[in-house]
Subunit: 402 residues, 2 copies
Amino acid sequence: MLVVKKFGGSSVANKERIFNVARRCIEDYRAGYDVVVVLSAMGDATDELLALAGTINPKAKKRELDMLLTTGEQVSVSLMAMAMQSLDVPAVSLNAFQVRMHSTSRYGNARFKRVETERILHELDSRKIVIVTGFQGVNKYDDVTTLGRGGSDTTAVALAAALHADRCEIYTDVDGVYTADPRVVRNARKIDTITYDEMLELASLGAKVLHNRSVEMAKKYNVELVVRSSLNRSEGTVVKEAKRMEKLLVTGVAADKNTARISVIGVVDKPGIAFRIFDTLAKNNINVDIILQSVGREGTKDISFTVASDDLGEAIRILEENKERLTIQEVTWNEDVAKLSVVGAGMMSNPGVAAKMFESLYNSRININMISTSEIRITVLVPKNEIDKAMNAVHDGFAMSD
Amino acid sequence: MLVVKKFGGSSVANKERIFNVARRCIEDYRAGYDVVVVLSAMGDATDELLALAGTINPKAKKRELDMLLTTGEQVSVSLMAMAMQSLDVPAVSLNAFQVRMHSTSRYGNARFKRVETERILHELDSRKIVIVTGFQGVNKYDDVTTLGRGGSDTTAVALAAALHADRCEIYTDVDGVYTADPRVVRNARKIDTITYDEMLELASLGAKVLHNRSVEMAKKYNVELVVRSSLNRSEGTVVKEAKRMEKLLVTGVAADKNTARISVIGVVDKPGIAFRIFDTLAKNNINVDIILQSVGREGTKDISFTVASDDLGEAIRILEENKERLTIQEVTWNEDVAKLSVVGAGMMSNPGVAAKMFESLYNSRININMISTSEIRITVLVPKNEIDKAMNAVHDGFAMSD
């Protein structure tokens, strides 16, 4: 049995926590497992290195930033090996050069192309715990790359896939994935099992437990993920393909306050206009989310859509600049909105979910602004100051705490 | 023209100093040189990493210590590349994996076996300044090694040799090599040119300007070394083979207070006894320096020798423990001694140097305790409290300030 265990920066932020992680890994080792550990940089180390680089060159090239940042994980893996050795367990730390974690060339946001297993298997064969630097790869020029924030999750999944691990455990500071944010919804319940697709929808909706790319990779290579806490012994949430598992109607509720609605009013009703509007925004790196089109007055139409709050000002500026070309009569917007989503693989075969959601919101007198759906998700736009109430209403409506 | 420039930790200890080094390197670059820069870790970074390791595991394995320590140079080279880039000069940082600095396997004290030049030459060809991590190598297991303290000098010389550099400049916080310690001898003069052998004798005698191993390597591969200050524009001292150069009778004077004399009295005068005494000390890792043997009473002999002050207690303990086996009647010692040496390649063909040295000391009423000589060095043991006076007397006696 082979297990890959990934611990984030806060789990190795100081001596005490390093030993806590070491002991948890040693338990599995002593139980006979082959153990591969993936670590992030200690605590705020990455931010501190970024700040240091900022003092030298605020526009530092990403190649050199990656060279700098990757020292952070090398520090944590070597210290972890020392900690395990002091507990009389053989351990060895490896960086991306040593494992040969081949990545694409793109500094700061690389993706894995191929991960070699020879060195790790050799070390496991001599019954060592193998500790690997997360977040980093080596590109075809033999240069160090980083995978972007949260990339250590992806490192763990990539290694689990390449090594055909029985399990990939992602340790975090929460017990697992919840039916809703427990800080908002008192009855929120930890989910025991969730599908990759549900996890992806929840992750992209703001449940920041797992890095999205790592879930995609786990799905692609069918790696069983476990999200659990490094602070307690709770079982956590298993993320895996749901073949025979009972598909819950609704698995979880997620909220996202980082959103704003824009409406373009009185656009000429002819083919290609909507494309030109969204193409203009996309070329300026503005991601558009929910889109709603309605008939306006006198052969025109109105189009509404949401963008991230941060992009609102820029989006309005671009639309105003291109008003004539895009045949826009007026641009209006609303910042006081939030997205509320319900996610569940069971939705696919149960058409009543949307109605149930609307009913729950209606009963709480919450107005629905816009609606968007995917196969396993329904998202509505509600007033920002009512999002917590809305979340609880929907959570209760689907009786998710049972 | 290709120049290798090495800067120590204090030269890159903060932003201001990093930019100071960057500008000096850029001067040579703009003058048309190919420039390779070797850097140590910033300021006290290495000591801080060692202290961190100490809190986790005071007996950390050297393999993991090397993995930890080598992050220090990777931080300084990436920051230096960023600094140069912010001054609009193309620069690239490389670690030991990227250059392929092949070393022996011994962690913490590795030696270079072979240094590849392909990557560096490729970067130089595209007119980049190449910044390489000092102090580190990669062994046959693909693991990181360090060369031991002062190893960055060796990295610079190894690269200069492999790249057939025209010059290897070692930047330090002094102007060059002096005829004596300028803090003690007021008339001490900076030496313009010195041979490898003289530099080796001076280095081993406590003139801590250059790492001994780097001078040995420079001699072996005939690399012209320049020792100069990173703080000013002084020309520095050139270390090279002295073929046609006028050989000075005496090049420099060096003192070493870290010494103590031990005498073993009344040893049986038969073959092999001296060997057994020094063999016993060597097996306990005690280095013995000057040795003097004299005839004792009634078929016995007395043997005196010096050890480093730190080793005195341990040496005495070992000798007392083995007193019977080594036929020692009594062990005496004296901590209040210091070594004074004069070094000069011209000595070889000038037999009067020793006499001249003794005369200078006699004129200053300084008692000589023991004497030892090599081809280009004469060392005497004098009372510790008279070492500064002795140094000045000898320096003046040979008129080294002229």
